[in-house]
Amino acid sequence: MTIVELIGTGCVVLGIPFFLSGTIGLLRLPDIYTRLHALTKADNVGLGFIVLGLIIQSSSWLEVIKLLLIWFLVLMASATSCHLVADAALRKKIKPWTREK
């Protein structure tokens, strides 16, 4: 195993905990808005690490650009749909959960 492969694999492995925490957040957090936080951010960072790790190991330029395109699309898609869902939830008058004093 070369040093480049090692770094790349390390990056890919680093992405997994973010995905896991996204799922845990989806199950643990109390309302729509907070769950959106977990879903949008954790998953994007996780995918970012996986894409980065694969890019480091990749040998063809075409693949690198394609991977970056995938990451960019997911980034745009999740930021947009996060906003759409939050906006629709506010319009449906769903109250954000707050910590009781």
Binding site: D43, L67, I70
Partner: protein
């Protein structure tokens, strides 16, 4: 074939399966839809890992389609199923 990457994909698959509980539990429609969105992002990651694990570059194209279409169903959900009739003409100033 690289078994290590397949095992990482397995972990992600299990996490997706755990996310299914949110679809079953709800409580609101948006919560269920968000779990489907989780499927989209995790699905892309799983496909990328499988593409590397089995040395099949074409699988990355499937990941690309996943990335495009996960957003489509969320938009359809918000615009159609959840909030009823909201046309772009009604919400924003007209462009035409």
């Amino acid at each position: 074939m690289n078994t290590f990457y397949v095992s990482l994909a397995l972990i992600l698959l299990l996490s997706v399966a755990a996310g299914l509980l949110r679809i079953l539990r709800g409580p609101t429609a948006a919560d269920r839809m968000m779990a489907a969105q989780l499927f989209g992002t995790c699905g892309v990651a799983i496909l990328l890992l499988l593409a590397r694990g089995f040395d099949a570059l074409i699988v990355e194209d499937v990941a690309l389609v996943f990335a495009l279409l996960a957003a489509l169903s969320t938009v359809a959900f918000v615009r159609r199923a959840w909030t009823g009739k909201i046309t772009p003409k009604g919400r924003r100033h007209d462009h035409r």
